[in-house]
Structure formats: structure tokens, C-alpha cells
Amino acid sequence: MTNIVVLVKQVPDTYSERKLSDSDHTLDRESADAVIDEINERSVEEALKIKEAGEGEVTVLSVGPDRATDAIRKALSMGADKAIHVSDESLHGSDMVATAKVIAAALGKVDSYDLVIAGNEASDGRGGAIPAMLAELLGVPQLTHARQVTVEGTSIKVDRETEDGITHVEASLPAVVSVTEKINEPRYPSFKGIMAAKKKPVETLTVADLGVDAGEVGLGSAWSTVLEASPKPPRTAGQRVEDEGDGGSKVAEYLVGQKLI
């Protein structure tokens, strides 16, 4: 019996234009389509695989505004059993430290958990530190950047892949795992899964419900402040080579100049 909590974040669709709001440099959620982060589809998939290999229950936990219910429903339609949604105006602009505190408090609302699975980093903020912070707050082992996860009884083995290579790590449960995009290929929901999702329980909580002081979270309490933001400059047009019979050599010269050949 493995009880798994999957952390799910709703992010702006990477297919749409993403930007920060002019007023406070937080994410402009209205300007883009909101979807479940792709890495979280893989987190859910890994949880479902562990559940299907043995026994257990998969709970989705998401901190986000009201419309994050769409991301939660997607995870439920893939096969997760139930969800907790922390939604509170005061969370707007929270930094990673505050977010990790809120997630840790929300985990206190779960009966018991053996494993927390997160993505290694969200495609919007790209901080990548929430899993480690959360493990610290919970006082449990952290196994980050996993490309393979094996649960055996009360222990967990992970192949941890970074730029430096692969490390084989092992810990006892409960633990926090973060997965990379190499972990698996997520399943598609089915229409039956979509219909089943609407009957699954979703508990919606405020920060007060979690016993967290609203003054400790949000933009005002963030440890860092975004002073200025500018969009990535558009890609420049590149260099044009006029072909006067010697186009091939000119292209080759350019590539040699760039040390590409």
C-alpha cells in the first residue's frame, strides 16, 4: 500500500505567448491558455504506475488560483483518485519559500503519505527548488532529478541524472521525489476517465484552513523582488548569403567562423 501525493502546477501553455504583468511583474495568467505543466503529467503517470504495480492511492495537490481546477481535473482524468486544491487570493506572488511552506502544511491534511512526487522544475518559474525545500520542511529524504523510480516495500531507489552523470540513490519512505522528462511517457486520459473525474473528491482549502498566516505568504512577504522584466529580444534575421556561384563556400566559411565545422 503506497499512498502517493503528486504535486501539480498549472502553467501558461508553452504553445502560447507567456508574459509577466506590467503592474507587479508576476505571471500574467490571463494572457495565455493555462494547462497542467507537462512535467506534472509525467509525475502523475509515475504515481499511477507505482499504484498499479501494487496498491495505493494517488492524491493530487495543487496550489493555484481557481482555474487550476482544470489542471487538477486533467490529473484526475488520467486516473488519480482525489485532489486537494489550495486556493487563496493571499497567495498571489508567493515566492518558493512561501509556496513550499504552504505545500508542507497542505500535506498535513492528507491522512498519510509514503511518497511525494513532483516535477523537477515548472516550465513557468523554472526555480526548481520546491522539491528540495519541501523535503527540508517535512524532514524527509529528497531524491531529485529522477529518471527512474523503484519502490520496494518501505524503501525507494532512484536513478538521479544530472549533467554530471547518473547517481543511484536509495532512501526509506516517506520521501520526496522529483522527476525529469526522461521518467516516462504519460498516458492520455480516456473519455471514461474524463467522466469519472467529475465524481472524484476535490477538497478546496484556504491558507487559513492550513493554519498558515496569510501575512507570511504572497508578494509582500517574498524574500526576493522582481525589479524589472523585459521580454527576450526577437531572434535576429541571421546572416544572408547571396549566391553568386560561390554560395556553398561562403556558407562553409561562416560555419568555420562560428567553429561549427
Binding site: Y188, P189, K198
Partner: protein
């Protein structure tokens, strides 16, 4: 821009989101290559089946999705927009389940329907013969009773999924009575001995979808596979087509939407005389007319679908939707080639394929001349 839809429920929104994801990631990237190679996308139908999309408008107790036509047709439109052969195949499969779902006995439905709707099996619908197209009642494939089976001999023509399908909803003649009275409907297993498919037709478009003649040479089909009574076949066939042609209307709107999207994207990116060509009124008006044709066609099939969902007569509206949507798709895809100019005429861009694919919906599931006959008959009899 993608089609803007008003959907009735969040489940419908989630279903359309799933459909778009499947269409974008699993269908669209393969379409050009498969069509070029005349390769049948059997695996893609299995994926749709695993996702629960091969039984959407049928009852949940038989494994269907219990979905309204209003929503089912929009799913179909999105699939066809990514890949017309798969959209048409999904529509044909759904139509081929109609006879059993609506005319089968409880026992027959219990025995075969869950597998047909469950996603692993693919269906086909066999009505036409070479000499019996618009005049379907002239069909002559003969089924003679021999003990506990019909022995079927004859040749069906223009069968979508011919040789690929796992079951064929087949119209045969069970008596020598002339015209429609002697026609009956059999649910034929694809592996029945004496049943085979001829070589695929060499078509202008929808080249990834197999179309062939179906050869019955003394094929024994157990009498338990007769759907409805003997003599009900033509009625069942025409009822199937009334719903089926709504599917063809939806597919044609999807195809036209794909052509419009391609044309708009090209017109924004292509510069002539120092400006993107979309800024020239000559093209702007062409694109506006294309958008008007797509959206009015969509509204027309949705109106017919809503009537069907409410249990109101919808035959005239279905024929109007099929006529309007397929003629619109022909015009929109032709104009899309015009917008792309010389590029549009090459196989480096998809619009010439769309134009080839748009032709056959004006022909199959009742030619557009037959649709006009259906519409006019209702006007006459009203």
C-alpha cells in the same frame, strides 16, 4: 485560429481538449507521410479506441460514451481537421455500429456491441454495389437461407475500410421481391470464410484510407446476425445514412478549417510589394469568405445535431448540412490553394491534398444531388 466552440459541459470541454491534444501530437504529424505512402493508420484508430472515441454517441451500458451528437460531431471535426482519412474513418465506424445499436435485439447487442464500441475493433458499412449507387435499392448481392445461416454471394463496392475492418454492416437481398422490400441487414464478421476484399481503389484523395470492393463468395453468415427483420435492410441503411451524413458534414468543416488556418498563416507570412499579402483586400476578402463558409457550415451541422439530440426529425437538416458543408469545403480548399499560389499547388504544402480530399465528401454517403432530392421531397410532402 482554432475553432471557437460553445460546449455544454466541462466534461465536453475536457473531451475536446483531449481530442485536440491527440490530433496535434498523434495525428497531424503523420498525416502527409501516410497519405503519400497510401498507408492505412490502423494504430491511430487503436489509440482513438483506447481513448474511448470509437463509441461516443452510443449508450453507456454497451460501452459507449452516451454523448450527444452536438459534442460527438465536434470531436469528429477536430480529428478530421488534423487528418481527414481518420475523421472519415471514425465517422464510418460510428455509422457501422448504428444498425446493431438501434435495430439489434437485446441479445444481439449484448453479444457484439461492447466489442464494437470498445476501441479494438474497426467497422465498415457495405451498401453500394457497382450498379447500385444512388439507386441503392437495385443492389443484387444475394443471401439465401441454408439451415441456420445465410449463404451470401455478390460484390459490394466503394467500401471504406474494405479488407481492414473487423465487421461489416452489410445490406443484402434475401428475397427476389423487387426494389427495397427484399433487402436485409447482416452484421458480417470480417474473418468469415468466403469473404475477401479486392485490391484497393486508386483514388484521387483520402489515399491513407482503404476503399475496396468486398467479395462474397458463398460466405456463410449465421441467421443470428440478421439485424431487424428480413426486408428491413433498406430502412436501416437509410436511417444509418441520415446520422452518418452529419458525420461527413462535420469532417468537411474540419477539413475546411484546416485549409483556412493554413491559408491565413501563409498570407500573414508571405510578403509581396513590401507588405504581407493578407493586407491586400483581394486576399482579405477571399479569406473572409472562407471563414464565413466554415463557420456557417459548422452552425448548420450543429443545428441538425441539436434536433437529433432532442429526438426531433432531422433528415432534411442533415441533408442540408451535408450539402452545405461539403460544397463549402470544396470551395474553401480550392481557395486555400489560390492563397498559397504556386506553393499551394505543390506537395510541399498540405492544401493541394485538402483540395483532393474535399471532392469525395460531395459524392459519398449520398451525392449532393441525392441530398437535394431528400430536401425537395420534404418540401413537397410538407
Amino acid at each position: 485560429m482554432p475553432a471557437e466552440r460553445l460546449l455544454p459541459t466541462t466534461e465536453a470541454e475536457d473531451l475536446l481538449a483531449l481530442t485536440r491534444e491527440l490530433a496535434r501530437d498523434e495525428l497531424a504529424p503523420l498525416a502527409a507521410e501516410y497519405e503519400q505512402a497510401e498507408r492505412f493508420p490502423r494504430e491511430q484508430f487503436r489509440l482513438l479506441g483506447a481513448s474511448g472515441l470509437l463509441g461516443l454517441p452510443y449508450a453507456e451500458r454497451w460501452g459507449g460514451g452516451e454523448l450527444s451528437y452536438e459534442v460527438y460531431l465536434q470531436v469528429l471535426e477536430e480529428i478530421a481537421s488534423a487528418w481527414m482519412s481518420v475523421g472519415v474513418g471514425l465517422s464510418v465506424h460510428t455509422m457501422s455500429c448504428f444498425a446493431l445499436a438501434h435495430y439489434g435485439t437485446e441479445q444481439q447487442r449484448e453479444r457484439w456491441l461492447p466489442a464494437m464500441l470498445g476501441g479494438d475493433l474497426l467497422g465498415a458499412y457495405a451498401l453500394s454495389e457497382t450498379h447500385a449507387g444512388s439507386d441503392a435499392a437495385a443492389l443484387s448481392t444475394r443471401a439465401r437461407l441454408d439451415g441456420d445461416a445465410y449463404v451470401v454471394t455478390g460484390t459490394k463496392a466503394w467500401i471504406t475500410h474494405g479488407g481492414q475492418a473487423d465487421f461489416y454492416t452489410t445490406m443484402v437481398r434475401t428475397s427476389d421481391q423487387p426494389g427495397g422490400q427484399g433487402i436485409s441487414c447482416l452484421l458480417v464478421d470480417g474473418s468469415t470464410p468466403g469473404l475477401s476484399a479486392a485490391l484497393p481503389e486508386r483514388k484521387m484523395g483520402l489515399t491513407g484510407s482503404t476503399t475496396s470492393q468486398l467479395l462474397f463468395d458463398g460466405a456463410r453468415v449465421e441467421t443470428g446476425r440478421l439485424l431487424g427483420d428480413e426486408g428491413d435492410g433498406l430502412k436501416i441503411a437509410l436511417a444509418s445514412l441520415s446520422s452518418g451524413r452529419l458525420g461527413i458534414a462535420a469532417c468537411s468543416v474540419g477539413l475546411a478549417q484546416a485549409a483556412l488556418d493554413e491559408a491565413v498563416a501563409y498570407a500573414k507570412g508571405r510578403t509581396q510589394f513590401g507588405r504581407p499579402i493578407i493586407e491586400f483586400q483581394g486576399l482579405e476578402f477571399l479569406l473572409a469568405d472562407m471563414a464565413a463558409a466554415v463557420e456557417s457550415s459548422r452552425a448548420t451541422y450543429l443545428e441538425a445535431a441539436r434536433r437529433r439530440d432532442r429526438g426531433l426529425p432531422f433528415q432534411r437538416q442533415a441533408s442540408i448540412a451535408k450539402l452545405i458543408a461539403t460544397d463549402a469545403a470544396m470551395k474553401v480548399t480550392t481557395d486555400a490553394v489560390q492563397v498559397l499560389g504556386g506553393a499551394g499547388y505543390t506537395r510541399d504544402f498540405p492544401v493541394e491534398r485538402y483540395m483532393r480530399e474535399a471532392k469525395v465528401p460531395q459524392i459519398f454517403e449520398g451525392t449532393n444531388q441525392i441530398q437535394r432530392m431528400v430536401i425537395a421531397r420534404e418540401l413537397r410532402n410538407a
